[in-house]
Amino acid sequence: MSASPVTDAQLIARCVVGDDRHAFAELVRRHQSAVRACLRKLTTGDAALADDLAQETFVLAWRNLKSFRQDARFSTWLYRIATNCWLMHARKRKEELLGDRDDAIPDDDHDAMSHLTDTAVDHTRASTLRMDLERAMRVLSEPERAAIVQCYHNDLSHEEAAYVLGIPVGTVKTHVLRAKQKLKVAMASWNPEAASGTAEGAA
């Protein structure tokens, strides 16, 4: 007879009632990959920063586990904490940059845009696409990037994304729409219609 797997809710109950750290370790093991991947996407590939933020996310989750009402999935709740951690970090970084040198803020947007057309020939199509998408994501504002990551990367519904981001559903839709418009410009070289149009023009 195989033992039924312990659910997240049961593990959370053990943490809350019995201060069970082994149960929390199991929760971390279960969700670390998803949370770290989500943060890597938000930090546009900065793995070290993503892992630091993921660590902060789980510590905050442990501290606030009693306030988790189970009205959302545990993973969604973790995404919410992770996104808040990333937004706080981004805000702090922006303030530091503004304080240090007002006129020398690196213009990542233009930099990213200018590099998008330079496709490395020695990479496979999939990895090039992934890299281009990562660069294109830098063009987006933080709320737009967060909305795209939650809706596509984490496969959440607009309602769930609204819960994670702490904003109304309509605002999520607006962010997604704007983000996609920007991404379409930044990733224009991947548009099959444009590519076929260019080929026809050349012929």
Binding site: A25, A126, H153, L183, W190
Partner: protein, 122 residues
């Protein structure tokens, strides 16, 4: 994405980007990030458990003892009277073996029901 209700400026032109984003998400979903000591690092960072000081329990018991003695000293007649009346109440009413068995059965049933209810809720 589970909720495809995004207004677009042209469904056809948005399709290729949707595909790109979905492919990328699928690729990431397939790439499971190995733990590599991450969980251990998180567990080390957790705040230490807050244990009550060792002196708390004996101190509380001493305080309750002092309060009980204080009450008995302040109201000497009352404590004796309550004890005497309680004894008389039980001694005056003979209890049969059947009554004891019934009380035990009811108590057992009650505790099992509570235990099953608590287990189901957990």
């Amino acid at each position: 994405m589970s909720d495809p209700g995004i207004p677009s400026d042209g469904a056809a032109s948005a399709d290729w980007l949707d595909r790109v984003l979905a492919d990328d998400a699928r690729g990431h979903a397939a790439d499971y990030l190995a733990d590599d000591g991450f969980t251990a690092r998180v567990m080390q960072t957790l705040p230490a458990p807050v244990a009550p000081p060792a002196w708390r329990r004996p101190a509380l018991m001493a305080l309750w003892g002092v309060a009980a003695v204080g009450l008995a000293v302040a109201l000497p007649g009352t404590a004796v009277e309550v004890a005497r009346e309680t004894f008389r109440l039980f001694a005056a009413k003979p209890v049969t073996l059947y009554e004891i068995a019934a009380v035990l059965a009811i108590a057992g049933l009650g505790s099992w029901t509570t235990a099953i209810f608590a287990w189901k809720r957990a």
